[in-house]
Structure formats: C-alpha cells, structure tokens
C-alpha cells in the first residue's frame, strides 16, 4: 500500500515536469536553429539571463504584485465567507443577496477597472479591489454550496440530539463546507494573479503587470517573459500554499479519499 502510494505521488510530479522540460528544450533549440531575433522570441536561456541580471528590479515589482494579491485575496476571503455564512443562515439574505451576487458576475470586471481609477486613484487600492472582486465570487458561491449540501438525515440526527439551529450550523454545516470552501479558495488563488495584472495594466506604476506593459514597447521581450515567468511561479506557489493549508485543515478528508482510491486500485 505504501509503495502504491509513493508511485501515485511520483507519477503526479514526474509527467508534468518531463513535459515542461522537453518543451523548454524544444523552444531553445528551435529559436537557435531558425535564428529568431531575440526581440521577437528570446530563447529560455536569454530569459534566465534576464532573471539574473534584473533580479532586484524584478523582485521589487514581484513584491508589489504579491502585496496586491495578498491584501485583495484576504478581503475576498473575509467578505466571501461572511456573506456565505449569512446566506446559508438566513432565508431573507438567501432570497435577496444571493441572486445579486450571482448576477454581478455578468459584469465584466475588466470593464469597471477604469472606473475604479476615477474613484480611488492609481495606488494599491484599485488593484486590491479588482483582486477582491474576482476572488470573492468562487469563494462565496462554493462555500454557500458546502453549507447547504447537507444530508437531511444528518440534520434530523442533530435535532434528535437536541441541537439548536446554531449548533447545527457550527458543528455540521461549517465543517461540511470546508472541502467546498477550499475548492473556491483554490479557484480564487488561480485567478488572483490575473486579476492583479489586469489592475496594473489599467493604471499603475508598479508591479509585474506594469513591468510587462512598460517593457513591451521598448522591445525588452526577455524582460516581458521574465515577468510572465515570475507571475506563473507566483500563481503556482500560492496554489501550493492553498493546497498545503487545505491538507493541514482537513486531514480526515484526504485520508478518506486516499483509502477510497486504494480500494479502487
């Protein structure tokens, strides 16, 4: 069982890494063989050079973007979970607020970004708001689903134990919603990086998104790629962080999943 377990884990890692490495090699070879000019498509080695040469500049902009994501995501988490709890607990909120939240997703947030500049200026605030607006939705909607998808027999069981409405909420609905909540968080993390870049594109003087729009007209293509690379790494690392917290929070969930997977094998 331990062996199969290890096999599964290593298979998860080996294949994507192999594919990625071979793509990078193909890219390097093709650019050199076909002799593509570096301002059009720099080879991976040139991007690596740029990462090293401009590391201070890149780091400074990375930290700005990371801050926008960190603050924006935290705002989304707090408001998303609070509203989800309210919607699951109160029928009035469910009937009034929930449809509005869902309908709000039809508004293209990229389109309101310029408005935010008019209202709150060019600093950190508009980026935080955009990140928060985009991350809020998957967190809130998934958590509402989790809070509400309860086996009615479970609720009966709680009631026969004498549980109050709040006890059902705190001891049944909240723990039950955790896997759903983490799904929402993971989706939120994945889109948070894009959201921060959008915010910087629309107006700003800092951050990796800004660095891309600044470098592109100067044909600093390797730097554009370096920024894109850092954004991807940031996205992956934030996602891994989310998964790590998820595992710490719900060991029972992953144990159950693993033993089910083993039975199938």
């Amino acid at each position: 069982m331990g062996f199969k377990n290890k096999m599964l884990n290593s298979v998860n890692w080996i294949f994507p890494v192999c594919i990625l490495v071979s793509l990078v090699i193909v890219w390097e070879v093709l650019v050199r063989v076909v002799n593509v000019p570096s301002w059009q498509l720099p080879p991976p080695s040139a991007i690596l050079d740029e990462l090293i040469a401009s590391k201070d500049l890149l780091l400074a902009h990375t930290l700005v973007t990371l801050k926008e994501i960190g603050v924006g995501f935290s705002v989304a988490l707090v408001t998303g979970l609070t509203l989800a709890a309210g919607i699951a607990y109160s029928r009035i909120l469910e009937r009034s607020v929930y449809p509005i939240i869902i309908a709000s997703q039809t508004i293209p947030i990229i389109a309101i970004a310029p408005l935010l500049l008019i209202w709150v200026g060019y600093g950190l605030t508009p980026k935080v708001i955009i990140v928060a607006l985009i991350c809020f939705y998957p967190i809130a909607v998934n958590t509402v689903d989790g809070l509400k998808s309860i086996d009615p027999d479970m609720i009966s069981m709680f009631r026969t134990l004498g549980a109050s409405r709040f006890q059902v909420f705190a001891r049944l609905q909240v723990p039950n919603s955790l896997p759903f909540m983490f799904s929402g968080i993971k989706i939120g993390i994945s889109v948070s990086v894009i959201a921060a870049v959008i915010g910087e594109w629309v107006g700003g003087s800092e951050g990796l998104g800004y660095l891309i729009t600044y470098s592109q007209p100067l044909f600093l293509t390797a730097r554009v790629f370096a920024a894109i690379f850092l954004l991807s790494v940031m996205g992956v690392l934030l996602f891994v962080l989310g998964v790590w917290i998820e595992h710490l929070t719900m060991p029972w969930y992953f144990n159950a999943k693993r033993s089910n997977a083993m039975e199938i094998l």
Binding site: D153, R159, N255
Partner: protein, 258 residues
Amino acid sequence: MAAPPKINVKCLNKTYPINGKSEGILEDIDFFVRQGEFVSIIGASGCGKSTFLNILAGLEPHDSGLIEFDGISADARLGKVGYMQQKDLLLPWRTVLDNAILGLQITGVARKRARIDALDLIHQFGLLGFENQYPHALSGGMRQRAAFLRTMLLDQSIILLDEPFGALDALTKLNMQEWLMDVCLNMNKTAVLVTHDIDEAILLSDRVYLLTSRPGRNALILDVELERPRNYGMVTGTMFAELKKQLMHPLWDQIGAG
C-alpha cells in the same frame, strides 16, 4: 397502582398532503411500551412505521391523538428521545470518540468530560483501540456501534431504532442483534424498533406490533414470551416458529392484497 407505561400512544392519526389531497399515513394507532421493554413495529413498506418513529422522536408533528411519556403528555420530544437510523450518520471529520460525544457536547458537556464518559463505554461497544480512527477506516458494523454509542451516551431513557441493521451483512447483523439486547438491558433503555425483518422483531422484542399497509393501522399485537437472555439459537425453536407463523400470515395477506 401500576406505574404508567413509558410510552403511551392513543388514537394517533397522521396524514400527508399528496397531490393536493390529504392521504392517511397512520390511522388510530394505539401503542404502549413499559419501562425497560423492547418493542418492535413491523409492516410492509409504506405502512408508515418510519413516520411513526419520526413522530415519537419529535421530528414530525401528528394530526391528532395522545402521546404520553411516563403518564405525562409529551409535547416537546426533540432531544428527549434517542434515535438511531439505518445510516450511521457519523461525521467524517470527527474520530470515533469525538463522534460518540457529539450528543453530550450539544447538551453542553465539556469535551474533556464527555470523552471520559465515552471511554468508559468504548469497550462495551466493541470499539476499543479504534477510538481515534476516522469513520471511513471502520467496518459497517463498527460504524453502526459508534452511532449507537453516540445515541446511548445521552441520558435518554427511550431509544427509537429505525432499521438500524438494515445496511449490514447477515452475519454482522446477528452479532449486533445479540449485542444490542445486552446493551439495552445494561443501560436500562426502553427501545422501539422498526423493522421488516420478522426474525429480528421476534428475537429482540417483548411485543411486536404489526401494522396494515397504507394507511397504517394496528393489525396485530403479538406478545413474545420467549425467556431472556435470548440468543440466536432460539430462531429454530418451535415456539419461535409458532410466533413467526402468527406474524407471517397477516403479513403475507397484506402483500398479496397490495
């Protein structure tokens, strides 16, 4: 003067609105259980026996009729009556021990205190060594015993059992039936079992109520005077066969007529 029965039900009626019409589910049910007795309710599917348990548990209202516990009208029954379902309904995020203490925690007992109480009984419930396991790691029988422990730990003298062995394999079921008789005796519980397993009903019960199919009415009340302690060997005895015959005939008629 004799003590009033633990549970006394008189002339209980229950209807459900189905397609705009109110359809009878239970009609004029009379039912009683004395302190410490084990009583079963048996009937074809849809005879309303589970609804009857839900009403006794306080989960559903009834239309008319009298429900008394210890001779006193029992209006607020939720939380006062133990209730076991076919599904174990263990919380996957709690260990066996923490699942067992759920009811105690709900009634306000501190976790530490509740755990001590539960550990006292963990051996009797066959869960020794498994108290820190999560439910998914347990067999069906063990999960059901953990659910029993959660129900029995509360200071509820009445236990309602809605086909609690229905999802278990035959051998586990036999084991559990004998075990349950012991537990109810030791813990001085009064039990009402709903089942459609005739052997189970006779083996466990002091009295069996047979209901007609929809609407459910009292069809037959059978006193089971097999001596206690009982064991599964009695199932092949002549007295058991005689009792079984008495229950089978009306039940077969029901199914035939339905």
